[in-house]
Amino acid sequence: MEQRDIVIVGGGPAGLAAAISAFEQGTTNICVLERDVQLGGILNQCIHNGFGLHTFKEELTGPEYALRYVKRAQELGIECRMGTMVLDVSPDRVVTAVNERQGVFSIQAGSVVLAMGCRERPRGALNIPGFRPAGVYTAGTAQRLVNIEGQMPGREVVILGSGDIGLIMARRMTLEGAHVACVAELMPYSGGLKRNIVQCLDDYGIPLLLSHTVTRVEGKRRVEAVWVAQVDESLRPIPGTERRYPCDTLLLSVGLLPENELSRGAGVELSPITRGPVVDEHLQTSVAGVFACGNVLHVHDLVDYVSQEAAAAGASAARYVQGSDDAREADKDVARIPVVAQDGVRYTVPSSISPDLMDDKLTVRFRVGNVYKDRFVSVYLGEERVSHRKKRVLAPGEMEEVVLKRADLCSRPGIDRIVVKLEEE
């Protein structure tokens, strides 16, 4: 069987950043397996700008951002197999995949980095009543049709959900000559970035209808109209508020789900909240030697954070294969402190930390469950508050982070938990 120090599942922004980072840490026997025919993942269809402000201090389009990583991987000579679909990752890190050139093949990996990304929640997951005609697309599918295939999915559009792809596609469809009647959002707040609401809706006069949902799809063969209604506090449509929007297209941007079928097969423990793997300070999953990063771990708002996180995962994977068996065994028994998300914080990544193994500084990422104004993000080590930072606005659409210092943890032996929470004062 083919042997590799590291096999990376997915050649999108996460997989590439992980590969480059691992290589730069000195582990060069790496193979990236990518199911698409080119590297870059979903960035290839994100032709709008706004990528890379943190990483490169400039505004790039999605393909431009991806290309920087693709070029770097090529410079380093990292092997990337495209058109290759991974079918199975075993708990002992045998990665089985299929492609046209090799057929079905397996690789024994020293460590595995899961970087499969996420998928869009489909219409069916929402139980929107009505017919099931042509013309109902997830925003990402429409984005692919328009930006990659050069095709037009419709002319008169209603968008349900104000996730970032939905907002971006509101603008994109408008620029392509379609009319976007409205973006309806079930929640009283948008699930997307503020800047996208301004640049993609406000600038084009597209109304954002908060606390609204689609209650019915009309049209047996092709969408003819959708009904949009206001919802009450328990998110139920309010009778009498329905309005019919004649249209030929309904785009959905109603949530992203990490694609963890392979992780599940490998026996990786998944979080019911993120639906991604439960990981430690090294982004290692519950299966030793298997790491995760990017949207397969938890859905990110900005690719810059994906790249940072993936670089950390790649470095951890390299460290894992460079270490001795004894060291790996010893790591398993090391004391861990759980990171607890409380009071508005939905989850944290990682969800446990070993002060002995962590780097000097560790970024803990999280999302909040509602829109909060003027709250403090607090970190408690045991009972003691060690960080208290005021944020003017916190919203579910934006990822937040706190940084933990190893010195702080090591100077407080015996703490039983690390709490990240929101506080009013």
Partner: protein, 482 residues
Amino acid sequence: MEAAYDVVVIGAGVSGCAVARELSRYDARVCVVEREEDVCCGTSKANSAIVHAGFDAQTGSLMAKLNVEGNELMWELAEDLDFKVRRCGSLVVCTDEQSRPGLDDLLARGKANGVPDLRIIERDELKEMEPNISDAAVCALWAPSAGIVDVFGLNIALAENAAQNGVEFVFNAEVSDVARQGDGTWLVKTSVRDLRTRCVVNAAGVYSDVIHNMVSDDKIQIIPRKGEYMLLDTTAGSHVSHTIFMLPTKMGKGILVSPTAHGNLLVGPTASDVEDPESTDTTVEGLAEVASKCALTVKDVPLREVITSFAGLRAHQPGHEFIIGEVEGAPGFVDCAAIESPGLTSCPAIGRMVADIVSSLLGLVDKPDGSWVAKRKGFVTLEGEPLDVWANLAKRDKAYGNVICRCRHVTEAQIVDAIHRPLGARSLDGVKRRVTAGMGRCQGGFCSPKVMEILERELGMEPEDVTKSGPGSELLVQEGGE
């Protein structure tokens, strides 16, 4: 004018295709006309996909007889035609002691109907068989002969095999009139062309009343009965391992929870009579009913794993009985009407029964020895199969190495096969029903553009002409304006 056909079958659902396949044994000119672009587009595509044991129907009814016979025939048919069935057995669950007599009645009726191996099991055994059964469950009627079937696979297999054996199919052909001619033949007018035939079989599902009433003064009435369902991801597919029915009450048969032949979990259906035979839309109330009632028999149904919901229409008639036979006053016109549940289970027996009627009416003779092909090779499935099966296929044909549908592991080779079969797929739904591309948890989000491209390439279509399910369901609009 001489009739071009011996038999025209109206409707390419499971009934029409089962009849056509049985008729293909004879030396006869048979044509199936279908208003949709493909087989399996009406009642046949949206139902519970259960091979019923046969204890529901009234003893002595045609439904009871054909159900039990159909169940017996289904397994051999599946071997011959290579579609998916699984004999998982069914349980009718009784959730209060007062209702137990109802279960005893079902058992007695089942025995009278000739259903094999029926027995009532008590809570402990039930709990062992179905760990997720409701805490309220008292006992259940266990019917090991029941099963689940891939309805698309069954319908397509019947049609393909019929086509292999010379049956002609005309799609997108809506029947506007059926009239007896002076010479005793029939003229079937369709939106594609008119067909002259010696015999007509009315297998028009929810429209079988309309077709029947074109030729008979003894009118029948179909009241479409809507059933709404939710389909859950394969991750929920083993939540139960048998088909779980509620004990029928005066409120109806209730909501079932069942594994499917594709490995999903199905919950539904509702039952509400509707006027419009086109109203295959789901409703707020219907889906809410499915979501709440499934909990009556099964605990913790993971409804958040739902990937799609759909509604089907049963061809219900007030007498609740199949209408099969030559119509009085219309010699050569044979009804295969009002085929509602257990119509799917019964279809192998319905096919035989109707073909017998037609062949004796027309005096048909068998095809010459050896010229009728009984077997047909099914579509390749890779999902869930041992990987060496896939490896061997990929060695022979590299298109098996190109995964198009990532959720259900469908390769380019399988999609190309689906398109180039006899009666091949012409649309996204056609591909989906044949080889499951787009049937998975992302519901075609990733693979639709790729499948569209393959359809364009293989069929020489323009992108704008690719449809979801036939004319009117085009997926794209012309670039640059109306």
